[in-house]
Symmetry: C2
Subunit: 463 residues, 2 copies
């Protein structure tokens, strides 16, 4: 079992699960860096005043208090001085951009992979501590639309490189919804979006009633809003379907143009991955253009594993405004599914490819020299803990999935045994190399053929 | 400037500093994995009862409190339920070993690189949030001595691979001090060690007085203790020097045997790196065998950057005892020195090797295709944010240190320019590759020649 947790909401993995997690994180990092995103980390804490800027999330914040410093961080303390753990990576990134704007170059493309904390009641799939992997690009005052096309495609590429089923990125655009509501004379856009967001939960009849009661819609407007929400498409036909409803506005046309541009670019690179789904309303109160949600095909109950959108003002210091577009992967939730469902496993829980046996304790130094020579050539190597009988030393390797055991011989007559096949051959520590697929642990679907195309399974550096 | 911090004690790096940090962390990970250490991470929080197990560190703990859940974590709360941020990686590792002993294989070699938090008053070089990199090996009931030789040598190798001056590992052994004190009849070993620990601060005269006053030593015993503390050596002569003092005990002989074994093995692998320094007393109340401290040559004022030792009982569950030996690098303090003194810099603050220029917005898709082709062959590539004049696009690359700008031509007549030399040549996105030293940012001493021998400067995966 890869997962282990004694404290509800705080997941922890056994070494084999951690190999899978490391593979996932390495792979994400590689994709992000190939696309020119610079990695940053921010401190784990922010002043409470920063964390509460958006108001709605206050209940999730963990506040810090020094054990020996009662009073300092008490309930009545200054929220500018009181510190809390960050609950996402967007708030700290906005603060980082404002604070260091003079030393950054814009548009600034950054990725950030860190733990975040939320003091929620831990539930199915909800963690109190979890890892997020974010990419954002932020401009100074302006940010071209084309980034709204590029960023979800970077995430599509990042997710496609992971040992998971295919994903579907559902997209919508605030301008489409708002422009359409304007065209039909539905004024309370925010309220309408809140109601539409419940479509899956309360159904179209419930939504129709709620649109009238909560958003001040006429019965006819409610019908139109539901017609819009029912539209989905993977190509430019989405615009035809919307326009066929017979309502237009400048904003609607702009939004449809953006949506179609995104779908067409996505179709060229990853056909079928990006789907316009006009019932998506979550986040449209916050995002100002494109909005993205991502589901794992066959795992709808997992919810969105990667969400984000365009915000015209990620941050502002009064003089400049910093618009941005970004997406965030909930890595821990994804990893819990990968490990829980056995979608991927590691070939071994240790990095070690070779265990050097020890003939007797007096000759331990000879085994150390073999290990030193192998490591110098980039081969992860361990030395047996004791000079037990060779059978016991082989079992030590076997229990850890270490594929090779090395037997130092006298006068350099060394031999190396593949303990899976039993094949044993003469070998020279200055020259012998294991097969590439055995060099580092690999991660993939259980029982799959060795896959040399999983570079993230390897550790950093020139491997 | 690589460093940026608006909250005292919580360091944060600008992108160029983060490249250096990532290089350091990748390099450490590579060395640890080459030696067969499995990577684990533990949750950031532990129950207060765990954190206070050793008692002495209570003032450093940050407690957590949910903003909307007053009372739950109040001052009088159950310390088994109250949560605090871990202040080191040893306490959580001990808990992890006990909790998952049934699913681990022993001896268990693990590395762990994570942030830790201490609510101390931030001072020169002291952080409230910082990264530690630990290696430990832990056995079930027994753990052979040879690991006390191997682990400091793994750290010596790990530190030698970093862009820092050479290190000196100072070692002592609890058995030597205790065995010697027993031999001269100095009974209060703990008190004597506490006094000896002040040698650098209060000098030999002050120590002599304090040994008599606080450790109950006779004047003669104080002289002998000071004689022992004055001994240092890089080889087996350390035993001769101690024995020349004319006092022996079984424990002393055992300790000297261990010390000499460590020095001899170190001398073979890294001559001059490991030095026996018998005045080291810190940690000897906790460690039971070897103890290690590491200084950066020429940076004595930084204090120890890597410390650790042998503990006969890292953890115990009543039935089994888990002895261990381990060392911990204070990565953030080391990094602050690297960046503050400019010991190493990054060749660029972004991963990007190539910027693809955009001729006009109508042809952005053509530039995207070039970028896609380059990335598919592992070349980190960005596309210009706007179709500005080429001079401006080149400046975009120049400001970020991106060495190459790619100009898509009509009919595939593409060209690529090295903006450092100005050389511009025809190129095919399906075949062109930058020089290996330009592929990823590199980290090294400023102005040093490109050094292809810094594998950790590269990002993970098959690079």
């Amino acid at each position: 079992m890869a997962r282990a947790s004694s404290l509800s909401g705080f997941p922890e993995w056994l070494p084999d699960g951690r190999v899978v997690e490391t593979h996932v994180l390495d792979s994400l990092r590689r994709t992000f860096e190939l696309h020119g995103f610079a990695g940053i980390e921010t401190r784990a804490v922010e002043p409470l005043s920063q964390l509460l800027r958006k108001g709605e999330t206050s209940k999730e914040v963990y506040l810090l208090r020094r054990l020996q410093d009662e009073g300092e961080d008490g309930a009545g303390a200054d929220p500018d001085k009181q510190l809390g753990l960050h609950f996402d990576l967007t708030v700290p990134f906005a603060r980082y951009v404002l604070e260091h704007a003079g030393q950054l170059t814009f548009p600034f493309k950054r990725y950030q992979i860190q733990k975040v904390w939320r003091g929620e009641r831990p539930q199915d799939g909800r963690f109190r501590e979890f890892t997020q992997a974010d990419i954002d690009v932020v401009g100074a005052d302006t940010l071209p639309f084309h980034y709204e096309v590029e960023l979800p495609l970077v995430m599509a590429e990042a997710l496609a490189a992971l040992p998971i089923p295919p994903v579907r990125i559902n997209v919508n655009n605030r301008k489409v919804a708002q422009g359409f509501y304007e065209a039909i004379g539905l004024d309370d856009v925010e309220a309408a979006l809140r109601v539409i967001d419940k479509l899956d939960k309360i159904g179209p009849e419930g939504v129709a009633v709620a649109l009238e009661e909560e958003a001040g819609a006429t019965p006819q407007q409610a019908v139109h809003a539901l017609e819009l929400a029912s539209i989905s498409a993977t190509d430019a036909s989405v615009a035809d379907k919307v326009l066929a409803l017979g309502h237009r506005s400048v904003l609607l046309d702009e939004g449809l143009g953006e949506l179609v541009a995104l779908l067409e670019a996505a179709h060229e690179l990853r056909p079928g991955t990006v789907v316009a789904d006009l019932k998506i309303a979550r986040g449209l109160d916050y995002y100002t253009g494109s909005v993205y949600e991502t589901t794992l095909v066959g795992h709808d109950n997992l919810g969105s594993i990667c969400s984000g959108g365009r915000y015209d003002s990620l941050a502002t210091d009064g003089k400049r405004t910093y618009p941005g577009v970004g997406l965030s992967i909930g890595v821990s939730r994804l990893l819990a599914r990968i490990l829980g469902d056995g979608l991927a496993t590691a070939t071994r829980p240790v990095p070690t490819a070779v265990l050097v046996a020890v003939t007797d304790e007096e000759h331990r130094r000879a085994s150390d020299r073999v290990a030193h020579a192998l490591r110098a050539r980039g081969i992860p190597t361990d030395v047996a803990p004791t000079a037990a009988k060779f059978g016991k030393q082989i079992r030590y390797a076997d229990r850890r999935g270490i594929p090779f055991v090395w037997f130092p011989g006298s006068d350099g007559a060394d031999e190396v045994k593949d303990i899976r096949s039993g094949a044993q051959v003469g070998a020279d520590a200055a020259a012998w190399t294991p097969p590439a697929e055995d060099l580092w642990p690999r991660v993939g679907a259980p029982g799959s053929a060795p896959d040399a195309q999983t570079p993230g399974a390897q550790a950093p550096g020139a491997r």
